[in-house]
Amino acid sequence: MILRPNDISGPVKESADVCIIGSGCGGGASAKILSEAGKKVIVLEEGGNFTHNDFDMTEQTAYTNLYQQRAGQATDDLSVTVLQGKCVGGSSTVNWTTSLRTPEFVLDAWKKNFGVKDLSADDLEPYFDRIEKYLNVHIEPEENHNPNNRIILNGAKKLGYHARATGRNTNGCVKSGACGLGCPFDAKLSVDVTYIPDAVKAGALIFPNFRADKIEVSENRKHVRGTILDQTTRTPRYEFDIEAPIVIVAASAIHSPVLLLKSGIANSSGHVGKHLTFHLTSAVVGIFDEVIYPAGGIPQSAMCDEFLNKNGDGGGFWIEAVPVYPALAALSLPGFGEEHHAMMKKFINIGASIVLVKEIDSEGEVAVNSYGRPSISYSTGIKDRAYMKEGVNTAAKIHFAAGAKKVMTLHTTPTIFSSPSEIERQLENAQWGANEITMFSAHPLGTCRMGEDVRKSVVNSRCESHDVPGLFVIDGSVTPTSLGVNPQITILAIAEKNAERIAEHYR
């Protein structure tokens, strides 16, 4: 069952076989596998439980109910906005459905550089197959791409770059464009409408609005203690204490390390919170004569994957379409005042593409601030900055090739090209430092990385803490490197595989 706010009238004290902290891809998939294996599972979710009836397709409602810090979560210097879900289903509830397997060269690097076992492409293939079937991952037919995605497909084709349709986890999509605001049609097969209901059917208990504050470890038992929040006001109501021999931390690459650091556990390596990667993202915006209407239609169904690991260094970038809603556009477009207002009035003629860099020399850190919440820092490396510049350059060319009359970057100082010939020179003179160009991340990863060297990693290849038996971390934080692709399928596969191992090992 999923606990409703009215079900709670005082402090909660429960016990279970497995307590899972977080209900996104890592937590949701683990909950399904373990509850179906007969374990008594309790899932704690800091955010609320919202369903299609609550999704009104507005930014205001979605950001308030479904996103971390109402979509304002960012690095300490505000240079990178970090978009994450905070609700039952986690980020899967608000992502744009892109479903891609982990690139083989990434898995090879994990094995070679971190000693990761049993996570090769061959090892994961049955899990990818099963997940893709379960979530109905499919390629959209040609006619379903909206004008914003066609910019990539058409522009890249004209320039000879490889571009293709992405996999999407939907069934009965009505092309509303609302994926990022919660799907009111339940057509997006996110964790809240797939894994979580199946886990509940198998007996799992889902506790929304339960914020885990600390994990206490003693002998064979573990206690997860925390605060029950009011779903609307987010103010504390009661305390809770869940006792379980197995605890799975699945609170994301931002919030899992915070919980471990606050608990003072699992950090003999000193690597908890380190090695944060963002899949660093910026964008270009094209102004077209025709109506693009970047908020409508399938938001993300195509990409240009020509430039990922093209040089064989494990880095590079790729380009995807991005849905643009009014506030998101306003925050991203350069400048302010009347000039900015004039750009906003061209909203329906805007097309936008994001450039996502798979980091090789950038890194960040998640620490804990004096309020017990994440303090996020990040530093961009020279190689990744060069890839970002090349990516922005390439995306701008794609927009011109697709018919844009003007193309602009997200530099704070407006950087606007009227023709392809202006791109190189202007980008050469542009500034790329913190808050000199708008950056985002929707794919934070890597702060509790896995590996077999106890000095260099937080968990082993089975996602179990090197320090605390029975304590697992199963979410995006365990990836040893940036993925270079949207991470939901990778996280689901790691979760399914390791939850099966847990079920087997702790019979």
């Binding site: 930014e59 304002g72 300490d76 464009g177 109506v291 009014p326 556009a329 994440p374």
Partner: protein, 178 residues
Amino acid sequence: MKFRPSRRKFLKQTLAGTAALSAAQFIPITALAARNDVPGSLLFFSHHEFRIIRAVAESMIGLHGASSEPLHPHDVALRADQFLADAEPEIQEQFHLLLVVFNSPIFTFVFDFQLKSFLDMSKSERDAYLRGWMTSIFTFRRTAFQGLKRLCMSMYYTDSRSWNEIHYSGMFLPEDRQ
């Protein structure tokens, strides 16, 4: 365990000194305008802060306060007041600090050689002042600008009254583009 003093430590620390000076009595903070133009019951801002954020919103969004505009800067400031009342405590703390510093004649003097608070500036002076923060060589000023921009833009453009002027009609593609 690694603790950091606050979420935006460097911004806070850099701004704190100036804020303390401005808050002291030596500096004549802008004479208050008539109070009747500020709502009596604000949730987060002081009346003075409300006037600052309203002026920032006007410049930031490019409004003129004309009746033909879908939202008055006053509406944006009101929404910001509600938004920040529910924000995390560290963000609340930083915004209070930021507004003191942003409007401080000390700061305008240090960076722009003029002893005028933001509220006392003309429209073009305000634009130039904001531009100075936006493009400053100092990271903390650019960060502060981003904080103000995010607040104002999100309060304005998440309000459905602003959508007509940008021809946004909600989700779904227009019929002729489907």
